[in-house]
């Protein structure tokens, strides 16, 4: 019954298209998102579930990512209602564009549901490319120059990246011979895969899907796209889409020998943490700052997967921690940008004094994303460090620690300037309940995972880590 999971986003898209007002389109999307979350809960009891021959199969790893997709989608849909109500009131955007936002968003979610449910790696490729196509219109929704430039780069760079991933699939099929290209059959085949083609294949998978995941140095499209999209779309791009690209890499990983794959992941991982650490000091735009943090966090996850051992379950847990904190930050930033009418960090000052709840959420989010206790990311980042040292990667682990400290300092500086800094006093519009409520939920979630990692979640991460271990 896996294919039934495609229904909620489809229904959401139809309802959004037929909706006569902004309220109806938004409600249709929220219904679709709630349906998807319910579907994921129902699917959890009968795993693994397969359908359509070799095409679809939902296992525990897929379910974990599906939960993140559905949960973030629900939160962002509620937020989008408040966000676009303010945007249409301000005359920034017309009602027809807002309706198309909801339609594209539902289709975008549909393509991600296909990514997490795909069993055959070529079907997964088709779905990952579809995510690019459905999300590009979200980036240039406002139709301004910067949005179009960002969408153009996004479409072109990601399409080329994905084309390289397809080259990976071609090499994989050469390596596999008669074995079907499913994520269950490939690791089971073990030594029957041609090792040379397998290596080529993994390299192209990593470069191709790594482009989409935002790993440096293929990340160049990411800060543009994530800063130009409307805030709820930025949150989905950062908090969910990057994970889907990661999943595509994880699906092929168990077939690849660790002696080959681990160093590659460690290299891409540490470079992706290093590039934001170098560039974070010159950021002026609040959403670009958050986008660079996404590159960093994808690097942390890749590093943890590469380290292996105890770092791997921590890296998988970091996927959830990053999504919670980053979505929170994009949502709060979107609200602040509308109310301060600027994306420039230097113009956003004294939030805590002028609008205390937003200031509290922003500062909390910054602590959460930089891995400070008592938030969830602290444990996952710490777990990766411990795993790295235990695995004998002492130098890389130390470098990782130094880079994290640099990023922590930079983010804390920006955060305290925005929250406490003195700036020109301006009259802000009143806070929007639908914007701040979802953000509060996310902060609580991140806090909960920091105070107490549930036993079941921890056990699940260990099982998933075993499932994605290299051969």
């Amino acid at each position: 019954m896996v294919q039934l999971l495609f229904l909620p986003p489809l229904v959401g898209a139809v309802l959004a298209l037929l909706g006569r007002s902004h309220r109806q389109s938004a409600l249709g999307t929220v219904i679709g998102a709630a349906g998807l979350l319910t579907g994921a809960l129902l699917a959890a009891s009968s795993l693994p579930a397969a359908a359509w021959g070799e095409l679809l199969r939902l296992d525990e790893l897929g379910l974990y990512f599906l939960f993140i997709v559905a949960g973030v989608h629900l939160v962002c849909s509620v937020y989008a209602y408040g966000y676009f109500r303010r945007e249409t009131d301000g005359g920034h955007i017309g009602p027809s564009k807002v309706r198309m936002y909801y339609v594209w968003m539902n289709l975008f979610v549909l393509s991600m549901v296909v990514v997490v449910c795909a069993h055959h790696l070529a079907l997964q490729w088709v779905a990952v490319e579809a995510t690019t196509l459905f999300s590009a219109p979200l980036i240039y929704l406002h139709g301004d120059r910067k949005g179009m430039e960002a969408a153009w780069k996004y479409l072109l760079i990601c399409s080329v990246g994905i084309a390289f991933a397809f080259l990976g699939i071609i090499f994989l099929s050469r390596a596999a011979g008669d074995i079907s290209l499913t994520y269950t059959a490939l690791p089971a085949a073990g030594g029957r895969l041609d090792p040379r083609f397998l290596r080529f294949s993994f390299l192209f998978f990593l470069v191709g899907y790594g482009t989409k995941m935002g790993l440096a140095p293929m990340h160049t499209w990411l800060p543009d796209a994530h800063s130009q999209a409307p805030a709820p779309a930025s949150a989905m791009l950062s908090g969910v889409l990057l994970n889907c690209a990661l999943l595509a890499i994880l699906r092929v990983a168990p077939a690849v020998p660790g002696s080959y794959a681990s160093p590659l992941l460690i290299l891409f991982g540490i470079v992706s943490i290093g590039v934001p650490a170098l560039l974070v000091a010159v950021q002026r735009d609040i959403k670009r700052l958050l986008a660079f943090s996404s590159i960093e966090n994808m690097g942390i996850i890749a590093l943890g997967i590469g380290f292996g051992g105890a770092a791997r379950p921590a890296a998988l847990l970091h996927v959830l921690n990053h999504s919670l904190a980053k979505v929170l930050l994009f949502l709060v930033a979107g609200d602040l940008i509308l109310r301060f009418d600027t994306q420039r960090i230097s113009k956003i000052r004294g939030i805590l004094r002028q609008t205390p709840l937003s200031g509290f959420l922003l500062f909390g989010g910054i602590l959460a994303i930089t891995g400070s206790p008592p938030f969830g990311a602290f444990w996952s980042e710490f777990g990766i460090l411990v795993g790295g040292i235990a695995g004998g990667h002492l130098a890389v682990s130390l470098l990782y620690l130094v880079l994290l400290a640099v990023l922590f300092g930079a983010f804390l500086m920006y955060g305290s300037e925005m929250a406490f800094g003195e700036g020109e006093r301006r009259k802000l519009s009143s806070p929007e309940l639908w914007c701040l409520l979802p953000a509060c939920l996310l902060l609580l979630g991140s806090l909960w995972l920091g105070l107490h990692v549930p036993e079941t979640l921890y056990k699940a991460m260990e099982r998933l880590a075993a499932a994605v271990a290299f051969s």
Partner: protein, 207 residues
């Protein structure tokens, strides 16, 4: 098969060094048509499957995509020259070097499967597509480069005999078509907003 491959390779080289946009689009359409014939030549596949792939390839690569690009060129008034960052002479030299390295890489790494020539030709197209994307300044030329790169991967796939079930193959074509379609739409929007199509001048977003 070999005749087809050589023709594809020659068209690819013409595309890479061509100074004008319209002939490049015609070469692209011809390349798509030849690629469409590939599944028919492969005797192992079933009749219906081969026919469906042939129709899909020719429909997308030889009719739809060239139509989008031609429309863009004529409606957007972007001139005939496909301006490049490097001179034509350098482009020709680089294309020659890339062709040579593609053939060398194929022998060195033993990439070629059933068909050695087709694999090398596919790799050449991939390289020259990347070259076009990185050196040409007009958005249309970048899209052409992207399609050439895709054609190269397609040829490489055919050479190594990788086959997927029909729904997946059709999904791949649908993706490619929608990607180029979206790029076409964006070209129109960019033209309207920037009143030029030179990607060198589109760089408002930077750090």
């Amino acid at each position: 098969m070999n005749t087809l491959t050589v023709l594809l390779l020659l068209l690819g080289i013409h595309l890479a060094v061509s100074e004008r946009i319209r002939p490049a689009i015609r070469s692209l359409a011809a390349q798509g048509f030849l690629l469409g014939l590939l599944p028919l030549l492969d005797s192992s596949g079933g009749g219906w499957r081969a026919a469906a792939l042939c129709v899909a390839t020719i429909g997308v690569k030889s009719v739809a995509i060239p139509a989008i690009l031609t429309r863009a060129v004529s409606r957007l008034d972007i001139g005939q020259e496909s301006e490049s960052l490097i001179s034509t002479k350098t482009t020709i030299l680089l294309t020659g070097a890339l062709t040579l390295s593609a053939f060398l890489a194929c022998t060195r790494f033993g990439l070629s499967g059933k068909d050695q020539l087709a694999a090398a030709a596919g790799l050449t197209l991939l390289f020259s597509g990347l070259l076009t994307m990185t050196t040409r300044v007009k958005a249309v030329s970048q899209v052409i480069g992207f399609v050439v790169l895709e054609n190269g991967i397609f040829l490489l796939g055919a050479a190594s005999g990788s086959e997927f079930t029909l729904p997946i193959e059709l999904g791949i074509f649908l993706d490619l078509f929608v990607a180029v379609f979206l790029m076409g739409i964006l070209m129109f929007k960019i033209q309207r907003a920037f009143t030029h199509m030179d990607v060198r001048k589109i760089h408002m977003l930077k750090d």
